[in-house]
């Protein structure tokens, strides 16, 4: 088992894929490092910005910098929305 990563919207373009996995446990800094190395530095930089929200197992996280990911978790990166 690992942590599942989900990239929505424009982040999918920056990552070059709509998802991936990373080994757990890991915190925010290690996650950003993984995004930068495994996908692209621009992805990590964008995810760090305040316009990108994060959902952990389907629930929005107020302080994404404080997350700790465990086996089986799903973390989704949510850029600004554009519906309708």
């Amino acid at each position: 088992m690992a942590v599942r990563l989900v990239f929505l919207g424009r982040l999918e373009e920056l990552a070059g894929t709509d998802g991936g996995t990373v080994d757990a446990p890991l915190g925010w800094a290690a996650l950003l490092a993984h995004l930068s190395e495994a996908f692209s530095p621009e992805l990590a930089e964008t995810v760090l910005g305040e316009r990108v929200k994060v959902a952990l197992n389907g629930a929005l996280i107020a302080d994404k910098g404080g997350i700790v990911l465990a086996d089986g978790d799903e973390i989704a990166f949510l850029p600004p929305v554009s519906g309708g």
């Binding site: 424009r10 959902a55 949510l78 929305v81 554009s82 519906g83 309708g84």
Partner: protein, 150 residues
């Protein structure tokens, strides 16, 4: 009655509206808004993506918020996800009320929030290339008209 749906296949707005209206004979006024994929600017297709754990639950919450704000007999919210071609319906909102002003306001509010606060990401295909669409400043101005929402 609130009917909130996230669809991944095409729908028939006229039939949806007919059914919604037929079930609400007590409503004196029904206001509906239909959003469709605009033809022009070389747009060949439009795709909306959603995120399962968030998108529909937030649409249901929005419907509850609308119901709490206006006295409605019924509310219909249908939003597409997936790839669509010009002319295809994207979103249908209908509000039924005893009096028309509540229905107009409720449909307007629901649309403003679907546009800029719901969990959808949109991209369009022009000249064979897909391009993600960022929210417009106008969308944020539209939603700001309603003040702070719960």
């Amino acid at each position: 009655m609130s009917d909130v749906r996230l669809l991944t296949a095409p729908f028939d707005p006229a039939e949806e509206l007919r059914r919604f209206t037929a079930a609400l004979p007590q409503a004196g006024g029904i206001v509906s808004f239909l959003g469709q994929v605009r033809d022009g600017d070389g747009v060949e297709a439009l795709e909306l993506r959603h995120y399962g754990p968030l998108t529909l639950p937030a649409m249901v919450d929005l419907a509850a918020q609308v119901r709490g704000r206006w006295a409605l007999d019924g509310l219909l919210v249908i939003h597409r996800s997936g790839a669509m071609v010009p002319g295809e319906p994207i979103v249908l909102v209908a509000a039924a009320a005893r009096h028309r002003r509540d229905a107009f306001a409720a449909a307007d509010f629901a649309m403003d929030h679907l546009k800029s606060e719901s969990w959808f990401w949109k991209r369009e295909k022009v000249g064979g290339h897909w391009r993600w669409i960022e929210p417009r400043a106008q969308d944020f101005q539209d939603i700001a008209r309603w003040g702070q929402t719960a």
